[in-house]
């Protein structure tokens, strides 16, 4: 079926279906929904609907299917790969009004939430009863759980605690045919059939609409301790990381800043960092106090054995916060330098980290671009960050070429084009290359089977069976975490 664009009649009928207060369509309302956290990518929808219940989601999906209208699902719009950028003149389905915590089950250590609940609320509610929801994506104060599941978001604790997927026990999903599927349950062990819930984790709104989520929680760690190690050479830092892993220590956080990031952070936050250093590692261990003390002592020794010129262990929480600020200030410090900040997330096996960081540096030099790298070194997830200006076309062209080279290198090293931001539209062109023919065909088959009319987030992640003629391809000017400054 050919996809149509939303007409005034459609808007009226959707308003009748959901109530007028649940539908927006004015021009001034469409512009702010024209983008997500990936600026320099925009497309105006024709209407935004705000269902309050699963039944209302079903009603919208049924209506859209009958009318052949594409739906782009959205939470808070903080994604970094263009996944929630609307379909031109299509429907945006915003799930923010489904924001209730349905159950906190302290006997099974689970929390059942509606899809629009803000991530931080899950984390806070768990903490209130001594439980722990580990994933902490950078936007957790804003992002929704539905968005986190759809993008399979990561964070600073991936090394020890994994990513969102590892905490999803069950999902309620509205499928493109309007049926409501319940996937998973509260059982720790469950091998009945395919793990269908996992199909929807990281599906970026292309397979179904996640309406409820059953989350797994952990006991709150009793203690945590933080340290920082400074290196003259980046290689020595990378070797330290390998040695820590080889010593069978899994700290909860193992973060890295390169030379350029260190200088920027010091300019911005005035922390008195050694500006001639080639790399800094910020490490945190959590768990039983004795185990933590042991781990920190062992890692301190490993760092010194691997040519760290300085190692600091925080004496208390206040000092720990200071050390963590070094890492937290990385993005704000870099984002101030140029109008556009493009945060990438190429990821490689940990053994290849030094090679990858070195390659990014060379690529920056080759194209005469400003690229700073920081990231989650413990899990191989780097954030090469391009500091550029989206209005400078010549420079943006170089940025695209440099991107392509970095992605290709990541793939060649056995890595991935995206460790935690998703494919969306930003990295769609590189997906086939990473997957290879057979697995890409499988991916395509999944999309074609589950969304045969290509209604759900068409054109994202992978092309559906009927690419819409009315949808102009999104031009990729780069992904920026914040809107470019206007002044």
């Amino acid at each position: 079926m050919m996809q149509k664009v939303v007409s005034p009649t459609h808007i009226e009928e959707l308003s009748a279906l959901l109530g007028e207060r649940q539908v927006l369509s004015s021009r001034e309302d469409m512009i702010p929904y024209g983008f997500d956290g990936t600026a320099a990518m925009k497309q105006w929808p024709r209407c935004v609907v705000f269902p309050r219940t699963t039944e209302e989601v079903v009603a919208v999906v049924n209506y859209a299917r009958e009318q052949g209208l594409p739906i782009v699902t959205r939470g808070s719009g903080t994604g970094l790969s263009g996944g929630a950028v609307p379909h031109a003149h299509g429907i945006v389905l915003c799930l923010l009004r489904m924001n209730r915590v349905l159950e906190l089950d302290t006997r099974n250590l689970t929390m059942h939430v509606e899809t629009g609940v803000i991530t931080k609320m899950v984390s806070d509610r768990a903490a209130e009863v001594g439980l722990f929801y580990p994933p902490d994506p950078g936007s957790m104060k804003v992002s929704t759980m539905g968005g986190n599941v759809a993008e399979n978001s990561g964070g600073l604790r991936g090394l020890k605690y994994g990513v969102t997927r590892d905490y999803v026990m069950g999902l309620e999903v509205v499928l493109a045919d309007g049926s409501v599927a319940m996937l998973g349950n509260k059982c720790v062990k469950d091998v009945a059939g395919y793990s269908l819930k996992d199909l929807f984790v990281g599906s970026e709104g292309t397979l179904g609409i996640i309406t409820k989520i059953l989350l797994k929680l952990l006991p709150q760690p009793a203690h945590r301790q933080t340290m920082m190690a400074v290196y003259t050479d980046m290689e020595a830092a990378a070797e330290t990381v390998s040695a820590i892993i080889a010593a069978k220590i899994i700290p909860c956080t193992l973060e890295f800043l390169d030379r350029r990031t260190i200088a920027c952070v010091d300019d911005f936050a005035k922390l008195g960092l050694p500006r001639d250093a080639g790399a800094i590692l910020v490490i945190e261990s959590d768990g039983h106090p004795e185990a933590v003390a042991e781990e920190i002592a062992a890692m301190e020794k490993i760092a010194r054995d691997h040519a760290a010129r300085e190692v600091k262990v925080a004496a208390d929480r206040e000092e720990a916060e200071k050390l963590l600020t070094t890492r937290r200030a990385a993005f704000p410090a870099l984002a101030r330098l140029r109008p556009t900040t493009i945060l990438e997330d190429a990821t490689v096996p940990r053994s290849e980290l030094a090679k990858m960081v070195r390659f990014v540096e060379q690529t920056a030099k080759k194209y005469d671009l400003m690229i700073a790298t920081f990231g989650h070194m413990g899990d191989g997830n780097l954030h090469p960050t391009f500091l550029t200006d989206e209005r400078d076309e010549a420079e943006m062209a170089k940025v695209h070429e440099a991107f392509a080279e970095i992605f290709e290198k990541a793939i060649a090293l056995g890595g991935t084009i995206t460790g935690e931001h998703g494919v969306g539209t930003a990295k769609k062109d590189f997906l086939r290359q990473q997957f290879g023919a057979a697995s890409f065909a499988l991916l395509q088959a999944v999309k074609n089977t589950i969304d045969p009319q290509n209604l759900l987030n068409p054109g994202k992640l992978v092309d559906g069976p009927t690419p819409s003629p009315t949808a102009p391809a999104l031009s990729r000017n780069g992904t920026t975490e914040t809107a470019a400054r206007l002044s």
Partner: protein, 437 residues
């Protein structure tokens, strides 16, 4: 990152009511994708301009500047134009607040009205019913004008020794003079809180500064700048620069957050004005909020000063006074000043600073917002009062006349019996050896 800090987004959950949505709209206008429509102008009016988003922004986006220009653009487009709106804007922005003497006459008239019982009579006789509806709502909110305006309370130049005299001590015991600063008296502050100006002068004197307070001062232009009248704001900035001998001054000090966040940007406002550009730069370099200034220069502790001033066995209560601090948006977000006022308060003996939930969340005053957007303003005020009630202070301290009036009204209407005071007033009382409340 800005979304959860935005009071209007918090209320509606709609992107257009968020900082990033508004920037999206501004950008669409800049890119020619949208005209300055009525809906756009209304959106810019709905934004409080509290700048909480500026504090939250990891990338340092200058929303304050974007927002001022957007309001100016909305104003210039005339999409909200109506005879009534034009009249009120003319009366306030162009007539009253461009003429300091006229403003004082009006203040004087209002004082007479309030003191002679005419106001009471007018209210009791049902006179308010004769007012147009928008004034009928506002009439009971009219704040009380001070007995004396600033120029009757502070002489044009005072020295630390003068404060000694007022305290009945020998002039020689005054602390050594550190230099000279100018005090901005403000418009609302002058009319309704000239006592705060007196207190600010006393604090500066106690800290060893000579205080220059020109008796006629123009409005700093923040009202105009924040409400889309940039040309008038420029005119007023020039008047201001002409009033003060900048080269003699260590600082130009303000005690009103709203003024401070505007007048620190004279350099940008007059950046293209060849005659004033240089002076504007100097001005921006030395413009200081009072708390910021005290913090930078090192605060003379009240205990030490009272020894100098021979007030050790004063009436100063040994009991502690619970004080909660509400952060004015244009202090914490507009100027990034959060710790210095707390340090001022914590330096006061007998004062116990208690935690206030959401201390930096807007109270709904937001310049003229409580007049233009009464419904949203009231919601924010209720929220603020709820948190104040929970903190159980004896005094609510805040450093902006708009917040002061708004919160005072909110507390009165909720039947909460506690005082609203400027942090500097508490400090001044402590220096003078008076009881805090």
């Amino acid at each position: 990152m800005c979304l959860p800090t935005c009071p209007t987004y918090d209320e509606t959950g709609l992107e257009r009511n968020s900082p990033r949505g508004r920037i999206g709209l501004m950008r669409a206008i800049a890119d020619g994708e949208l005209e300055a429509t009525k809906a756009f102008a209304e959106e810019m009016g709905y934004c409080l301009g509290c700048l909480a988003c500026v504090t939250a922004c990891p990338a340092g986006v200058d929303y304050a500047h974007l927002f001022e220009n957007a309001r100016a653009e909305a104003q210039a487009s005339g999409v909200q134009d109506s005879g009534k709106r034009r009249f009120y804007r003319w009366l306030t922005l162009r007539f009253l607040f461009m003429r300091p003497r006229v403003l004082r006459w009006v203040g004087w008239g209002l004082r007479l009205w309030q003191r002679t019982g005419l106001e009471q009579l007018f209210r009791r006789s049902g006179g308010t019913k004769l007012l147009p509806p928008e004034l009928r709502r506002l009439e009971p909110m009219t704040p009380r004008v001070e007995e004396k305006f600033t120029h009757r309370r502070i002489r044009p130049l005072e020295t630390p020794a003068d404060l000694m005299t007022r305290l009945g001590r020998p002039r020689e015991q005054a602390p050594p003079t550190r230099g000279r600063v100018a005090l901005l008296t403000g418009c609302v502050q002058d009319l309704f809180f000239s006592g705060v100006n007196r207190d600010t002068a006393d604090v500066l004197l106690a800290n060893g500064w000579e205080v220059l307070t020109p008796s006629v001062q123009y409005c700093c232009g923040s009202l105009h700048g924040h409400n889309g009248e940039l040309e008038m704001a420029k005119e007023l900035a020039c008047q201001q620069l002409d009033t003060f001998p900048l080269d003699e001054l260590a600082a130009v000090v303000t005690n009103a957050a709203g003024c401070g966040s505007h007048l620190k940007h004279y350099d940008r406002l007059l950046g293209a004005d060849s005659a004033y550009q240089q002076r504007a730069q100097r001005w921006s370099q030395i413009a200081r909020d009072i708390h910021e200034f005290l913090d930078e220069q090192g605060l003379v502790s009240p205990q030490d000063y009272r020894v100098t001033a021979g007030r050790t066995e004063s009436s100063h209560a040994t009991a502690t006074t619970r004080v909660a601090y509400h952060e004015a948006c244009h202090l914490v977000h507009g100027q990034g000043i959060s710790d210095p006022p707390r340090k001022v308060l914590e330096a006061i003996p007998g004062l116990h600073l208690v935690a206030l939930e959401e201390a930096s969340w807007c109270c709904g005053s937001a310049g003229v917002y409580s007049i233009t957007q009464p419904e949203q303003a009231q919601k924010l005020l209720d929220r603020k009062v709820r948190h104040i009630r929970a903190a159980r202070p004896a005094v609510l301290a805040t450093a902006n006349p708009g917040c002061h009036l708004q919160i005072e009204r909110g507390l009165r209407e909720s039947g909460l019996n506690l005082k609203v005071m400027h942090p500097v007033s508490l400090l001044a009382r402590s220096y003078r050896g008076e009881s805090l409340i």
